[in-house]
Amino acid sequence: MTWAVETVELSKEIEGVQAVRDVSLRIPAGAVYGLIGPNGAGKSTLIRLLLGVWRPTAGKVLLFGKPAVDPTGEARQGVGFVPDIPVWPNNFRVDDVVRWHRMVYREWDAKRADALLDLFGIRRKALVAHLSKGQKMQVSLSCALATRPRLLILDEPTNGLDPVVRREFLQLLVRQVAEDETTMLFSTHLLEDLQRVADHIGVLFQGRLLLSTALEDLWDEAKKVMVVFRPGAEPDVSAWPEVWRVQREGRLHILWIGKAADRVLERIRALEPVYWEAVQPALDDLFVEMMRREGYTYGDLELA
């Protein structure tokens, strides 16, 4: 299998804080990879490391097999990037941003850039500094897509966009990426976005990669099981290592299973329960469970 992105025990320390620690990640070519994590999880840091903008403290990054920290920048040829806050010199107009991309990317597609900018209704002579955040993102996305990238990296692309623009933005993104068979990596803390477009998911928390898998595999592995055991034959399900959490409502047990759901279901069946049902959990529920297990707190607030 060809890996678009491969990191090996990647770590980054910033000002004494371990922002990314021992991240080993593999993204297959053609995947749409959603990187999710709470604020400060290290998503943006990881993206900057992937792009070779920041140097890792330890470990390495390969983009299509080539080191991302590349003195010639050649490894980033064919890698489109949409930053969370697009920054350009104050006197740059949209035309100038387009010109910059045209000059540095070999595969620049002027027709596509024009079509996308027209679609978004962006004036070429407008100063980038005068555009709204959404419009800046649209300019960045148009330029990134017009480079016909093999790998497209987006750092919280829908953050700060209104729901209508967000939906259109994602639709366009998915359409273009599917058309070009581009590998896409995007970070977000909006599970709704991730569920809509991603086929692979990575969960980052306090710089550690808790999970990196295909969504399909995740749905096979993770389950929410509702079960009523026979009276007197109730096992201590909370002691089962695969079970993340158990909720009780009367005799009904609700089990959150994070991995190896088949194994758990087999054990449940062997106990011949009165009633049982396994459903696919919602991604946000799963994410919250995962964060809860990691002791995610915000100040004095702890997830109940």
């Binding site: 910033i14 000002e15 840091t45 900057r48 792009l51 070779g52 903008v53 920041w54 140097r55 590349d70 003195p71 010639t72 920048g73 050649e74 490894a75 980033r76 040829q77 064919g78 890698v79 990037f81 930053p83 697009p86 920054v87 350009w88 010199p89 104050n90 006197n91 740059f92 100038d96 010109r99 910059w100 991309h101 045209r102 000059m103 540095v104 990317y105 070999r106 595969e107 620049w108 002027a110 480079t147």
Partner: protein, 346 residues
């Protein structure tokens, strides 16, 4: 298909964002020549022949009169390379694209340096042309060739130092101050410190040592080579400036390769530069506080207590060191407290 040419792209981006500062630097650099051309023109129209002749000849004969503005201009060219990068923080966006760090820094260096040398050459040519046209040029061709080459070397060193200062700092303000201090202020700082200490302990320290230290300090400020003609027209000095330019360029390329972009927006990009600045501040405070304390003690000793002579040198040294040390300790503690307080409120 796009045109993949990073050299043009980085150079074009630099042109777009730095043109204003470059024009300003070119204006500052051309100011003496322009003023003199106007002055000569006015003198000619006023039929003040002896006057305009003197002015014209001075164009070539007294390059030191240009030196200050030219040094300022070279410093602006150098500082401009990173000034706007720090103000809008757009460098990561550039380096996220298919451009290498070394290429970026070399293009930035090359653009500024070529413009500086171009404006310099143009100014020298215009100055000499004016003098020749007036028929008053007597210095001879080798003389202004020598002037141009010396200026080219001197200004390259100034440019290189400003470029390096701009690269090491992470905010426009610190870029300006650091470049100004390194180019114009190092010798003055050392001279102030040695003068102060030398005067306080003049009965104890050899005056010749203090004076030679003051003299040698001039070699540490690149601007002094240009401003002082005795340094400027010295062959060894030009070699020193040439070597300094090469070292500064090498340091700039090596530093940019390791530029910690995660520290953008800080006063200094490199931790050791921050520590060096703190050390300079600490030494300054130590000397000034120690000197002030010692002077007050001496006044008290002589005027209030009525002792005619100064206290023994050992006592004065002890007092100087104690007061200076206490001031530095106090300032350091206050700074740490302020930082803790600031972050505890965030």
């Amino acid at each position: 298909m796009g045109i993949w040419n990073w050299h043009n792209a980085v150079a074009w981006r630099d042109w777009k964002q730095n043109a204003g500062m470059w024009f300003m630097a070119a204006g500052v650099m051309s100011f003496p020549v322009l003023v003199r051309i106007i002055a000569v023109g006015l003198l000619q129209s006023a039929v003040l022949a002896p006057g305009h002749r003197t002015v014209a000849v001075e164009l070539v004969r007294a390059p030191s009169s240009y030196a200050l503005l030219w040094v300022v201009a070279a410093a602006i060219f150098g500082v401009a390379a990173f000034w706007r990068e720090w103000s809008h923080q757009g460098l990561p966006a550039v380096l996220a694209g298919p451009v290498g760090r070394r290429q970026v820094v070399m293009t930035k260096w090359g653009m500024g340096w070529l413009l500086l040398q171009g404006v310099l050459l143009l100014n020298v040519l215009v100055a000499v042309l004016v003098a020749v046209l007036l028929g008053e040029y007597e210095a001879g061709w080798p003389s202004y060739l020598y002037w141009w080459m010396s200026s080219a070397v001197g200004l390259s060193a100034v440019y290189a130092l400003a470029f390096l200062a701009g690269l090491w700092t992470g905010t426009p303000r610190s870029t300006g101050w650091t470049a100004a201090f390194l180019i114009f202020g190092v010798h003055a700082w050392i001279q102030w410190m040695t003068t102060l200490v030398g005067r306080l302990f003049s009965d104890w320290l050899p005056a010749s040592a203090i004076e030679s230290l003051r003299q040698w300090a001039a070699y540490l400020s690149v601007s002094q080579y240009m401003v002082r003609s005795d340094l400027f027209f010295n062959g060894g000095s030009r070699l020193v400036l040439l070597a300094a330019t090469a070292v500064f360029l090498g340091l700039a390329v090596a530093s940019f390769d390791r530029l910690p972009l995660e520290r953008m927006g800080r006063a200094w990009m490199f931790r050791w530069a921050e520590k060096a600045a703190v050390a300079v501040g600490g030494i300054t405070l130590f000397v000034f506080a120690g000197a002030l304390g010692l002077v007050m003690f001496q006044l008290l000793w002589q005027l209030r207590l009525g002792f005619g002579e100064l206290p023994p040198a050992t006592v004065r040294v002890l007092l100087f060191v104690s007061i200076g040390g206490a001031a530095v300790y106090l300032a350091w503690s206050l700074a740490k407290w302020a930082v803790r307080r600031r972050y505890s409120q965030v």
